[in-house]
Symmetry: C2
Subunit: 391 residues, 2 copies
C-alpha cells in the first residue's frame, strides 16, 4: 500500500426533497452567485424554479448562465469567467450533471486568474485558487459533485483536457435520487458506465496489498451492476435503485476507493479522444474502450483480471486458467454494457475507424498513458483497433 | 435508504514516516498547543520526541499534559480544560490511541465552555463549539481519529458516557502503520474487535435498500478478519496487514459505511457498563457482548443475520435454514475473537455476574437501547446472562 492523503471536504446532502436546502447552504458562503445550468431538463422539470425559490427564501441573488452542452465547451467557460469578474461574483452554483459541474469548476478557477483559463487545462499552470462551487446534481455519472476533476473541451482543437486540483472540489453537493427519474435511459446507462469506469481505473493497479480497497471497489461495482439491472428492468422510478446508483456515482470518484493505490486512467485518456472528436457521451465511449483495454492487457497481471471476473462478474473462481476467466469477465462486461443499451464498438456507434491514427497521436500528446501497463501511441492505436468491430 | 448528510472533513495523512508532518500541519492552525498523550508507549518508543522535533521545526510551542489512562477519566479532562484556559491555548494535539483522542476532544469542548464539561456527556448540553483537535494515531481501534465521538469515564459513578458532535471531529489524523508494530497483541486484538463492532452496529439495521453500504460493510469486515489473521499468525511487523487494519479502523467509523442506514448501537451501550465497572478494554467487552446480542436477537430479521454469516464468515449461502446459518455465524465470530486472544464471556474475563442487575439498570438510564430491536432493562440483563458462561 502506498502512502496517501485523503481529504474530501464536500458536504453531501442526500435524499428526497433535499434540493430545498440549496438556499440555506449557499447563504453560508455568499449572498450573490453565478447560477450555472444547461437550460434544458432542469428548466423543464421545474427543478430550476425550486432552486430559485430556495435561493430567494435564503436571500441569495443570482446571475444566470445557461447553455452548458455535454462535453462542456471552453467558450461557455469564458463567458462565465467574464460574468464573474464583471459582476464580482464569488460563488458558482451548478445545477445539472457532470458537464455543468465541470464547466462551473472551470469558471471558478478562471475567475481567480488574470490569464486564459485554458492554461490550466493545457498544463501550463497549476490551479491553486478557485471560487467555491456548490452543486445540485441531476445526473449520477462523473462523480464531479465531490471530485477534484474538471474536463473541458476546447473547440479550437477540438481538445478535451482535464484539471485535477483540490481547490475545485465542491463545497456541497445536494443529491435527490428522485431528480434522476426522468433521465433518458441512454443517459442513465452512460452514467453507469462512467462510474464503473472510475472504479475500474482504480481497481486495475499493480500496487500489492490493497485488500481493503479491493473489497470496497468490488462491492461498489457489484452494487452498481445489480441496481442498474433493477432500473433497466423495472422502469426508472425505483427510488431505492436510483438512490444506490446516485450515491455509488459519488463514492466511485471521491477517491476513498483509490486510497493507497496507483490508478491507471489510460482508458479515460483514450476515450477522451472519442468524445472530443465525435462529440459522443463519455460513458458510451468508455463502454467501447474499457473492454478493449482489458483485452489488450490480457497477459498483464492476469490474476488481477481474473479476480475482477470472479468477484465482480461471478465467473467461477475455480477456473484453472486465469486468462480464460479474465476473457469471460470481459465478455460479461460487454454483455452488461449492451444490456443497458450502450455501444461496445466503433461499429455499434458508427464511429469512423479512419481517425485511429490521428486519435492515438493526440491521446499521448503529454506522454505515454497508464500505469497498469505503459501505453505508447502504437498500443493506443491497437486498443482502438480492438474496439472497431462489433463482437 | 434514509436521507442523510455525509461530511467528513478530517484530513488523513497515511503511511510510513508521516509523523514528521505533524509540525507543518499543526502550524497551519496555531503556534501554541496542548500536547496530550498517555506518557507511556509514545514516550518509550521515541514517537513523542519525533513529534516534538517536528513541532519545533515548524515553530510550534506546546504545553504538555500526559497521563491519559484507558477508559479516559474526567479528572484528567478537567486538568486539560484548566490548562487551556489558563494558558490561552487554542489547539489540542493528541498523540496516542482512542483514549487520548477522546480525552483531547473533551478538553477541546471544555475549553470553549464556562460550565462543567461533564454537562455535555450527561446530555444536559449540546456541544457546538470546540478547539480544533489534531491526531497522531498509535492504536487502530476506536476510529476516533476521524469520528465525531468521544467517550469519557466519570470516576464519581463510575459513569461512561459519550458526546457525538461534528465540532469535535479532528482536523487532521496522521497514521503511520509502523507505529503499531509494538502494540501488545491484546491491544491489537481489542482494536480489531472495536472496529468490527463499529461496522456491525451499522450493518445490523432494519432499513431496507442499503445494498451499496451493505457491500462496503461486508467487504471491510472481510478485509479486517483476513488481515487480523495475518498479523496474529505472522508476527506483528507485517506492514501490509498493519496498514489494512489501520485504515480499516478509520473507515469503520468515519460513517461512510453508515450513510442512509439506521445503526443499532445497543451493544456499545451494553458494553460501556462492563468497561466502566470493571475497567476492562472496550474491545474486549465488545467481544463478550456482541455474540450474545446476536444470539438474543436470533429470531429478529433472521435473514440479515444469515447474510452476515454467509457474506462475512463464509457460511454456505445455500443453508435452507436462516436461523441455523445465523447461529453458525455467531459461532465463527466467537471463534475468531478467541483465536486472537479475546474473551467471549464473563467467565473468560473473570467478571462478576452478580453485577448484571446494576449494570442493566444503568445501561438504560437514558431509555431503551437499539433500533434493530428495542431493548429494555430485562432484555439487556438477558444479554448479559447469555454472555456469562464460556461456550
Amino acid at each position: 500500500m502506498q502512502n496517501f492523503e485523503y481529504y474530501n471536504r464536500t458536504k453531501i446532502i442526500f435524499g428526497k426533497g433535499t434540493e430545498d436546502q440549496v438556499g440555506s447552504e449557499t447563504a453560508q458562503y455568499v449572498r450573490r452567485i453565478l447560477l450555472h445550468h444547461s437550460g434544458g431538463s432542469a428548466v423543464k422539470s421545474g427543478l430550476l424554479d425550486k432552486v430559485k425559490n430556495s435561493l430567494k427564501k435564503a436571500g441569495v441573488e443570482w446571475v444566470e448562465l445557461a447553455g452548458v452542452q455535454p462535453n462542456p465547451r471552453l467558450s461557455r467557460v469564458y463567458e462565465g469567467v467574464e460574468l464573474c469578474k464583471k459582476e464580482q461574483i464569488k460563488f458558482v452554483l451548478a445545477v445539472g450533471g457532470g458537464s455543468v459541474i465541470d464547466s462551473a469548476k472551470a469558471i471558478a478557477i478562471g475567475a481567480c486568474y488574470d490569464g486564459d483559463v485554458w492554461d490550466f487545462y493545457d498544463r501550463k499552470k497549476t490551479a491553486a485558487q478557485a471560487l467555491p462551487v456548490g452543486v445540485v446534481l441531476t445526473i449520477p455519472a462523473a462523480g464531479s459533485e465531490s471530485s477534484i476533476s474538471s474536463v473541458i473541451t476546447n473547440e479550437a482543437g477540438p481538445w478535451k483536457q482535464s484539471v485535477n486540483e483540490e481547490c475545485i472540489r465542491p463545497v456541497f453537493a445536494i443529491m435527490n435520487p428522485e431528480l434522476t427519474y426522468t433521465l433518458p435511459p441512454y443517459q442513465t446507462a452512460c452514467g453507469i458506465a462512467d462510474m464503473l469506469a472510475h472504479i475500474m481505473e482504480r481497481y486495475f493497479t499493480r500496487e500489492p496489498n490493497v485488500e481493503l480497497t479491493d473489497e470496497l471497489c468490488e462491492g461498489a461495482m457489484r452494487a452498481i451492476i445489480r441496481n442498474a439491472r433493477k432500473i433497466f428492468s423495472g422502469g426508472g422510478k425505483d427510488y431505492a435503485a436510483r438512490a444506490e446508483i446516485m450515491w455509488a456515482g459519488s463514492i466511485a470518484h471521491n477517491n476513498l476507493l483509490g486510497t493507497g493505490r496507483v490508478g491507471d486512467w489510460a482508458s479515460h485518456a483514450i476515450e477522451h479522444e472519442l468524445s472530443a472528436l465525435f462529440d459522443m457521451a463519455h460513458g458510451a465511449g468508455l463502454a467501447i474502450i474499457f473492454p478493449a483495454w482489458i483485452t489488450y492487457n490480457i497477459k498483464e497481471n492476469t490474476p488481477r483480471l481474473a479476480r475482477f471476473a470472479s468477484k465482480v462478474w461471478g465467473v467461477d473462481g475455480a477456473y484453472y486458467d486465469y486468462e480464460q476467466a479474465a476473457r469471460e469477465g470481459v465478455f460479461r462486461l460487454k454483455n452488461f454494457f449492451r444490456s443497458i443499451g450502450l455501444p461496445v464498438s466503433f461499429a455499434d456507434a458508427n464511429l469512423d475507424a479512419g481517425k485511429i491514427g490521428e486519435m492515438s497521436g493526440r491521446a499521448v500528446k503529454f506522454g505515454p498513458l497508464g500505469t497498469y501497463r505503459k501505453l505508447n501511441q502504437d498500443d493506443v492505436a491497437a486498443i482502438y483497433r480492438l474496439a472497431v468491430e462489433a463482437s
